[in-house]
Symmetry: D2
Subunit: 357 residues, 4 copies
């Protein structure tokens, strides 16, 4: 049985490059040879033991590659075709999918905590930081890459671009809206780009790292707020003449950003939450207007599926958004442990790393 | 200057019937002679000093009456006409109104807490527990009562019917949805009726008072859950075969109901919150799926304005919903202090009281 | 190779019962043994040669039956299970499906006319008026029948209930709306039921057959308008005090009903069109307000998929709508030619026929 | 009584500059001294007698000016303030406004044809091509101009920018959509800008005038189609690889553009119609997929009100769209007859003219 290299979760603190068999291809699957992948903040949560996955699992959920082999029931694609797949791989045929909630495809009860059922790669099945990955429900998930786009140009589509844009989409940003984005890591930066694409006229970005504030301005922020230079809520209320924002997007996953995102909302405004939280949240009574402010709190898990990927690649192909500045470092798969080391410590101004087998 | 009787907030613990001048009518106002009004749970919060209003203010926000005098700029109505007005009186011409958020008309910043700007009667201006009330922005707020409807039949329209229905509307209940309603006081009962009216097929009501559970069943609950007979979340998950509910409606304003309403949601489901909270809320990490469950939390303040009132009276007039069982007690305005005593102590199975000057 | 009986299109004017092989089961398919099916108005169009299908095709698109054999890639179901499938069988995995437009799954260009891509049974593949039918994309389309529901109770779900309800859904009927439904055949009657389920308070049904007007009243019509007793538009404007209707639902497919449905709309109202037209339509300038009336014209093809079927069966199971009166006649499959004769001539007050192999 | 100059409709073929009294200010009105206004295509319809207005009426519906006098019930503004008002002036307090359909405020029955009730300036009351104009329902309609914006920069907001953008908004353009805009006059050009602002990635503009095609490209068109260089539908289907467009925007008001806009739609796509038609329309059966294509036809009348104007001026103030190239000619009010002559004959590459008293 042929073998391949893969970045494998061994135990909290250890993701190592090892070998495992190239998987068999079931009737609904496609085997994709990875040409580029990347590391996500969620992978760091896994590394640190903050998010539990099975020992021995291959990590990673952002694939760019070439179809090596199609399952027997998979039509409409050809082996050798360049494709991506979303981080979330909806089957298309589940009740959740047919109910318009594909990201939750297969999600179990809320009781037992885990609701993010549609996230399979590097979570419930082997992931993309490997030489090959098996794409489940390939009919719904393989998205051909348009000619002329490089691997790095589409590398953000599977996760951070889809997630960041969904922050603006779920927040229902309208033409003329004022939007605040809390935390300008890769997802926050994509949320800025998404808010701009949806017609926001004033976009306020909140962070403190100068490089991130600079990229945010390039992607569409009219105002950047440094949370170290004064109370964030005060600064945003001043920028908006006391009116507050129409939509705030939380892109970090902490009590501080969540709470500030709620406090700056105008009456009737929406908090669109993208962050992965790691502890209970508090909603202060005043920030919530005692429940009488006509506010919404909306959470979104990265939308996937081939149509979503097609649209995001269109955004890149037509030049509407340029996310190349987000790829700051490049590693071979053989050096992925060094990539984890750099990325998990956020050294050297890293935003995203490109990993090539 | 002619004088009238009015129920006036004196200090925490004391709302008394007293006299004050019948108000002058400004160009945009209408003076309405009250024929029936009622007491709301919020008035009890005011009585107890839990919600602050100015001393000397007339309380009450649910008017049924007859137009006594129209302001000079108010056309399209006639003196002597029977009307109601919503508890919330949007001007129609504010930025909030023109932005689709009339209930927040005039709402100030979130910083200083109070966002429920559209609520004026018995909050920022004199209310309806009096012989006369001045309706502001009368052009937008006077709603003629269709012939054949009694005062008591339309008495629920200004507040609890509008609020309860909005729980189902803001939750975007669809045909075939399963909906859970937490707490079956007057607003929760109207939320049950609203969910049914929007096409929910399974409605689960949660309370413990037998009379309320019985009315809930009459208004459309297929299942009633007594929270004293076991864990509410467990009971609802059992009823739904572990699937959870599409929409949960919180109609009380406590941590317990809020949290249970969140826990029973299916992935992708919506918590529609109607309660007035009196302390900070906690969102448990698991109940919130760490932010990855594609869930929404939506709050709604009672929609007002004459078109809303027209539609609600249509619901009554066409017999689609019968809310008469909600009026359990009747008092003259002269006896309003006794009515407050009964209502605030929830004695004698009281749901709503009708007050007639 | 085992053979089965099937109603086959031979040529315009002739659908005959004949034999053909029981089909082979592909990896994504399920073979269902039909226990009950029915004839649709569209089948009569096919019979008359007004809608073209291939010679030799089995007709029919409304299956109730038992899973005989599952394809190799189909999991989550068991052979012997009682199921229905929608008339439209979205794959779940097409671009159209993933774009929220499953009924158009596989639809070709508009240029060459045919856009109703999701309709396959009895249109592009063999249909349900047979002893067996092959359900394509079974993972997305097999819907288990809840215990306690008879074949006839769920027989309307695959097509007319789904189509009729979608008229109200696509029209975005709100609580308190006035809705007019043009033509009260099986689909129009289901549109009445759907409008009521969505919260319409005034429903006006238009037809002339007394039995249909009577069933319409039972399903929720407050007003019935006989088009032989005066101009329909005049009658509806009188009922609405000159205001017009919020939503009109066209359920026949003729210029007359389409045009009247447009004329009775209030400014800002929506025409929800369900009919299958057979010639060009004219939009009169005045009825269209020269394009300035903020009106919508929305068309909908019967929504399918197992989640849709689950919800519709919930509506039946919870007793919210009773469609049993729509089944007026019963035939054995062996007598299907007689059934076509009765149904195509609309004799004997026929609404729907139940066909049992 | 003081008098002012005004462009007055005398009879078909004649709009002349004449004198009439400066109007009295009612309690809900504001008198605005016009500093800049313009001529719209609709005014040319009036000039030609194609759209009927009362003899003696002042024409024009696009005001930029200074508040001269406020009505007694109008608060929140100051005399001397620079303002604009929308072409459509919703009262805010009508049933239509409170139902979310402000552009139809006051609209009468469809029977008698005229549904565009919210359009008052130069239609049912005196318009803006004068030294002064009376703004009705001033509380809802006066929109202060932000500092730093010139008259010409905000001159497009009252009508063509609001109308053009609404084409994209009513069409519900999504990120990644392909949009075709039919006719690139001022409104079509604004529709292009609106589609881009809403996230369309591919925008196809259809016209034949080279200057217009050039401005369209500058505003966001990726493709321009010259209808004189081949069949428009064929060209667009080729650009979209046979897929069709997600949204088509009709911006002329003819059978040809309407029909082509319908034919290029993908299954499930939306035709957003902005044009003012002058004769009945035909919907070809095939273009309409016999009613089975899940298509929508949506019409929109220019949204007005001060919140809409505030948002549009924000778009200009933040530099997201630059409409200055649309003002191609300038005239004094004294020369407005010459301006009509130029504009009605579309001479000299005219797009919009600025008229200054």
């Amino acid at each position: 049985m042929a073998r391949m290299k893969a970045a494998i979760f061994v135990e909290p603190g250890r993701i190592v490059l090892d070998e495992k068999p190239i998987p068999d291809v079931g009737p609904l699957d496609a085997l994709v040879r990875i040409t580029t992948t990347t590391i996500c903040g969620t992978d760091v949560h896994i590394l640190k033991g903050e998010y539990p996955v099975a020992k021995g699992l291959t990590i990673g959920h952002e694939p760019v590659g070439i179809i090596e082999k199609l399952g027997s029931a998979v039509t409409g694609f050809t082996e050798g075709q360049r494709v991506i797949a979303g981080a979330i791989t909806p089957s298309g045929h589940s009740f959740a999918c047919l109910c318009g909630c594909g990201s939750q495809d297969g999600a179990g009860t809320k009781h037992g905590f885990k609701a993010m059922g549609g996230w399979k790669f590097g979570n419930t099945i082997d992931g993309t930081q490997a030489e090959y990955v098996l794409v489940p429900d390939a009919l719904a998930n393989l998205a051909p890459v348009p000619e002329g786009l490089s691997d790095e140009e589409v590398l953000m589509c599977p996760d951070i671009m889809s997630t960041g844009f969904s922050g603006a989409e779920s927040g229902a940003v309208q033409i003329g809206d004022t939007v605040a984005v809390f935390a300008l890591g890769p997802i926050g930066l994509c949320a800025v780009a998404g808010a701009r694409l949806k017609g926001a006229t004033r976009i306020i970005g909140v962070d403190t790292v100068p490089e991130r504030l600079a990229i945010a301005a390039a992607l569409g922020c009219n105002h950047v707020v440094d949370f170290k230079k004064g109370d964030v809520v005060d600064q945003i209320m001043a920028i908006t003449d006391g009116r507050g924002v129409d939509v705030s997007i939380e892109a970090l996953g902490t009590q501080g950003t969540f709470e500030a995102a709620l406090r700056v909302l105008r009456p009737g405004g929406t908090l669109s939450s993208l962050g992965v939280y790691s502890s209970d949240l508090t909603i202060p009574l005043g920030a919530f207007s005692a429940g009488l402010g006509d506010n919404k709190i909306v959470t979104t898990l990265c939308p996937g599926g081939k149509e979503r990927m097609r649209r995001l690649m269109e955004v890149i192909a037509t030049g509407r958004v340029d996310l190349k500045p987000l790829v700051t470092h490049r590693f071979k798969l053989d050096d992925i442990e060094a990539a984890y080391d750099l990325f998990s410590h956020q050294r050297d101004g890293v935003l995203k790393v490109a990993i090539t087998p």
